[in-house]
Symmetry: C2
Amino acid sequence: MKFDRIIYNGIVITVNPDFEIIEDGLVCIKDGVIQSVEVRNKDISQYRAVDFVDANGGIVMPGLINAHVHLPMSLFRGLADDLPLGQWLNDYIFPAEQKHISPETVQIGTLLSCVEMILSGTTACCDGYFYEDDVAQAVFETGLRAVTAQGVIDYPAPGVPEPVRNVETAVEFVKKWKNRSPLITPSIFCHSLYTCSADTLKKAKQAADSLDVRFQIHVAETKGEADQAREAHSMSPVKYLDSLGIINDNTLISHAVWVDDEDIEVLANRNARIAHCPESNMKLASGVAPVPNMIQPDVIQKGITVGLGTDGCASNNNLDLFEEMDSAAKLHKVFKSDPTVMDAKTVVKMATIEGAKAIGIGDLTGSLEPGKQADIIIIDINKPHLTPMYHPESHLVYAVHGSDVSDVFVSGKALMRNYKPVCLDVDDIMEQAVAVGLAVQRNHQ
Amino acid sequence: MKFDRIIYNGIVITVNPDFEIIEDGLVCIKDGVIQSVEVRNKDISQYRAVDFVDANGGIVMPGLINAHVHLPMSLFRGLADDLPLGQWLNDYIFPAEQKHISPETVQIGTLLSCVEMILSGTTACCDGYFYEDDVAQAVFETGLRAVTAQGVIDYPAPGVPEPVRNVETAVEFVKKWKNRSPLITPSIFCHSLYTCSADTLKKAKQAADSLDVRFQIHVAETKGEADQAREAHSMSPVKYLDSLGIINDNTLISHAVWVDDEDIEVLANRNARIAHCPESNMKLASGVAPVPNMIQPDVIQKGITVGLGTDGCASNNNLDLFEEMDSAAKLHKVFKSDPTVMDAKTVVKMATIEGAKAIGIGDLTGSLEPGKQADIIIIDINKPHLTPMYHPESHLVYAVHGSDVSDVFVSGKALMRNYKPVCLDVDDIMEQAVAVGLAVQRNHQ
């Protein structure tokens, strides 16, 4: 067969079920799909392809999956830090969103985030925000893959001034984007238990199930939220959500910090999907999600899936999933007083195949296996901070930065070659973001 | 005055006592010394200098100070991770050191670390290892600034086969390097309370004091060490060390994880210097040093100084102090359940002026002030992940990576210009490190 593209001369980390690593591997691509992942056993000139990509001895691996993000919020990166959550939200983030979020700025912020993701090796993400039609359009233009969810909240929101229309707006969004592009998977995102009524939650969940799209929600992010749920419903946030019939294998729960062993059992029994966001939880001092307990073999076997997310840039303050992997591994080790928890392989899987499964695109992406979409990144390891290399998976978690990614492909299409984004006008996108930033600065500082 | 070099068109973060930030600043350098740091108030053509460095609107700041590192250990980067401390040390690190550490490999590992530090914006570090003469020589060749300490341990060590000569060897090293180069400050480094006898500790401390050089030691890194001290001496590690008369303003204590409020009072009363290494402590699951308690105003006022260190690459696994700042800020927020602790300015000071004071070179470097050595870095902020920028100090902690550093100067001499290290043959250094790595791999995997 003559392939469209062959990536060769790289250490291929497949992230297949055996976590196979091929020292001198080949990834052969046709029609955007991985046809084979194999050991190179003859001279490269004996293979047939339109394009040959020399990985220069670097690491070839599935693109990273960001399981929870708010793309347009890159516009508020570093607007306010080191503040109590309430003051941060009420004095800075909410007013800034109210004044500056429009279809146009949402597109600018999304494009900025997409460029950042491409540059740092993320090929798919799961977004939740408002004006999601504009988010989806902007992501679509960049060639990245995304699950994009229209936000639902029982307050006037950007683009949804009348809360009574919140679920309806989300349904319209899903219908518009369903089957529109293989790269964009629409979804519905209820903000939280404390901003959506039981009625809204149930309506939104029913709509998501009937449209067969992911239902997303922030759950048990802070102690305050957990206390409030116990006060109002005499139940933990997870149990309350479960009492409403909201949790099943089509539900993506972000954060899950304030969950106990009983909550974890509920989540596992319902096959819930979790987006773990360690850096955001650290920076906002929300707490440490008990992820090591969630990924115990007996819990995993019941059916829980845990991916890794950065959360929005207003609370992180970047979208670098390599940094997130490093923090995830180290945070849980010190918090559990056990250096063996969250080993490198576990964390790499969380940022790739498990994340893909969590956001509902695990059949398409997240590993390098024949039949999967060719969502692939190359990491340039010819650098002092990556020398020497004893275990590639260790480097991915503990030493590689997003800036070491040299090449990015989604569905076989090159989005970055040799450190240069293809097609996108990065300078123009940054210029537009700077202009929004200046307007925000005038109003909120 | 005609200057040797003027750095202009940058946002100058002085890290002077007022943490002054100059939006469009100039740093004027002559004979390696900062002559003035000022607002640009006329066209640049009206200033006189041999060389003008255009910072392109980036951040101009003091080079970062790594307060605790073992430079040659970059050779063991990622050799073994995710293991219990004892197994990691006894099965991997100690055997690898025993077999592969020689004057030659120490120089290679040191050069590799120096290149990594230059590339990521660190201009000075505080090292402790064996064959320190070779470490010092290698650092000296790179043009970086360092405090280099010969290790002292009551066991046979690389280059010191007879422990009875350990302090003597350190004294010889100090005498050789004292006043040899303004960039190299020698020092003595006792490994720990559990590897050095009371007699060795006192002898080494007396030698350091009489030679007027820093005395360094790992203290209270792990719970095991703290328990052992209590069992053997009925005292905490800090109190035991104090009972030996070891702690004063010339003592640099690395880690200080297992210290309580009484220990902190001892440290403050003795004006101790602390090197905080959050990422190493996280990865090895050692614990969380109570740094927020150490930097309370009343404690600071008594005289404690806290800098930031990466520790060696075998336990981190890189030397990127920007990542270390990010981790330090986030770790303490989540551990104290308080997003206001370890705010960005505090962390930036810890990685610059406080680190310089901690390792004994605060009069030379650590801030951009007239009379100080011109140890300066430029950060390129024209990147998607640094756009927009509301507060430069927030970006330094929460968004910048080492790879965003474009230019590095030490004592006014350029060590990196426009992302390219000057003088050093980076490829050759990496090639030598890879060769050592292959030999290590053959023996220890």
